[in-house]
């Protein structure tokens, strides 16, 4: 088991399977939020389902709408289990705080999209600022 240190995050402790890409994230521009898949053709995860996966991505982009959208996705039950970023932006963190969605960023050991691989089982403890690769 490997332990990655990150900044203190938001949301509950969770465990799940990672879905990783060296790409960025906007709920408005990248997702089909009804089907629960990445829909923007240029996205490296295009066509993949994010439901109940732990997304591991570079940074958040786009406008302010994503803050409401994470909440709306969570209440419909079609949402990632958590999101890890190298660097989040304010909007995604605000949205995660409202939705009680787990989110962490700023990893001590470097690029998190290289530290974690798709399919890895991982456990996130946002209050401790720790991610365990099981």
């Amino acid at each position: 088991m490997k332990v990655l240190k990150c900044h203190v995050g938001v949301g509950p402790k969770v465990r799940g399977e990672a879905l990783v890409a060296d790409d960025n994230f906007s709920a408005r521009y990248d997702l089909d939020r009804i089907k629960g898949v990445f829909s923007r053709p240029q996205h490296k995860l295009a066509g993949q389902s994010y439901k109940d996966r732990i997304l591991v991505l570079n940074t958040a982009k786009g406008g302010v709408a994503s803050a409401w959208m994470l909440h709306e996705m969570k209440l419909r039950g079609v949402t990632p289990k958590a999101i890890l970023f190298n660097e989040a932006n304010t909007i995604l963190v605000q949205g995660a705080a409202l939705a009680d969605l787990t989110m962490c960023d700023r990893f001590a050991d470097g690029d998190v999209t290289r530290l974690i691989k798709t399919g890895d089982q991982i456990e996130i403890d946002p209050q401790a600022g720790e991610v365990r690769i099981l």
Partner: protein
């Protein structure tokens, strides 16, 4: 886990002594503040909430109505971004009764909390522009970048929930652009070609936003020779924020925090030249002469009274071959109506929408309902956004957009 320092009033809010709505609000702000290492809260003079019905959804309306049942009331002036449905004109656009119902419920919830339904993303031109050093909690990336950069106010991008929290507590966590250190330049650009009209300013902003690349970068720009108008710098900032998630820029000798390069710490940064090729490369992503648009849109940001007057002058006496949608704020709309500008624009066949903005009014659904795919606009921001909504956007100056609407193709 509580890391931030709270004063007695904030502790009382957190303990629920000031009601469950304020308790939710301060708890939300503490979570966000801890994430970004805020040490305390900073009082804010205004809040501005983005909450179009497409992004809010049924879940967001339920949340807002829960706030109303908890007797939530805002304690500072709180205003709203453009709405997603013009309740006076939604069926002709192909918007459904369900969309209008979400809109009506959301508006009713806001009103009962004391939120002023200004429905505008040009509040800095119409409502009450913030002052230099004024801490505010604004949503809408275009509003934030203008207020930070041109007014010298201090705001992060506050998503709808966080803007609401700020309205309820009268403060926001002190992180990001509320701090002097985060407002210093991190990237330096030199412009040689002077922008001539609104779309040129938008394209320049888009190029710099794309190169800046992240929320935490602050571009400083040298080489602008003429003081832009409020509308020009509005398009510049809105495009920069759209392409780069950038919340602040400085223009040396023009914006208030950058009387000199040194004032924003730019002297030691390597300078990157913005060339004509960079500007042309951005324009090349969008349609050009000879193409036949399905619809012409002026929006994003909403038009100022001056822009409304320009559109009115360009379409006066014409009969448009293409549908044209013009979005403006309720305040500007009322003035434009009184001055006869709305009649002149609509007599040409165009439609002016009040208090909405095209891209956040169910753009995908209205495009499908009307068969609109090829869309022409003078806004570098809107052509960036609508590519993701199934449109093939084209970009041209306001004059060329109007000419296209008159001729039926981009001329």
């Amino acid at each position: 886990m509580l890391i931030m320092n709270l004063n007695d009033e904030e502790k009382a809010m957190l303990a629920g002594e000031m009601g469950s709505a304020r308790q939710w609000a301060i708890d939300h702000q503490i979570k966000v503040g801890n994430f970004f290492d805020a040490t305390d809260m900073v009082p804010v003079s205004q809040a501005h909430m983005m909450a179009d019905p497409e992004s809010v959804g049924e879940a967001g309306v339920d949340f807002m109505e829960g706030m109303v049942r908890a007797e939530a009331k805002v304690c500072i002036p709180m205003i709203t971004d453009p709405r997603g449905v013009d309740l006076n004109y939604y069926r002709p656009l192909g918007q459904t009764e369900d969309m209008a119902t979400i809109e009506r419920r959301f508006v009713a919830a806001c009103e009962s909390m004391g939120i002023m339904m200004t429905n505008t993303c040009v509040n800095y031109q119409t409502i009450m522009p913030p002052l230099l050093g004024d801490h505010v909690a604004y949503g809408d990336t275009g509003v934030v970048i203008y207020s930070n950069s041109v007014c010298g106010a201090r705001s992060n991008f506050e998503g709808g929930p966080s803007a609401l929290a700020a309205g309820l507590t009268g403060r926001t966590p002190r992180y990001g652009l509320h701090l002097d250190a985060r407002r210093q330049a991190t990237k330096r650009f030199n412009v040689s070609q002077q922008p001539q009209e609104l779309t040129d300013w938008g394209v320049l902003g888009a190029v710099i936003g794309r190169l800046a690349g992240s929320y935490w970068e602050v571009p400083v720009i040298e080489g602008i020779e003429k003081v832009p108008t409020s509308d020009e710098i509005k398009h510049f900032g809105a495009a920069m924020a759209s392409y780069g998630s950038t919340p602040l820029f400085h223009i040396v000798g023009i914006t208030p925090e950058a009387p000199t390069l040194d004032a924003v710490g730019g002297n030691s940064l390597p300078s990157q030249k913005i060339s004509d090729d960079d500007l042309q490369a951005l324009r090349a992503n969008f349609g050009t002469k000879g193409e036949k648009p399905d619809v012409v849109v002026f929006a994003a940001p909403q038009l100022s009274l001056v822009e409304m007057a320009t559109v009115s002058r360009l379409v006066a006496g014409q009969s448009l071959k293409l549908p044209m949608i013009v979005c403006t704020s309720p305040q500007v709309y009322a003035d434009a109506r009184r001055m006869g500008l709305i009649d002149t624009i609509e007599n040409s066949g165009a439609k002016v929408l009040e208090g909405t903005c095209f891209y956040n009014q169910y753009a995908r659904e209205i495009g499908e309902a009307n068969g609109w795919v090829n869309l022409l606009s003078n806004s570098a921001k809107i052509v960036n956004i609508l590519g993701g909504y199934g449109y093939r956007p084209a970009l041209a100056s306001m004059q060329d957009c109007v000419n296209a609407a008159i001729e039926g193709e981009i001329v």
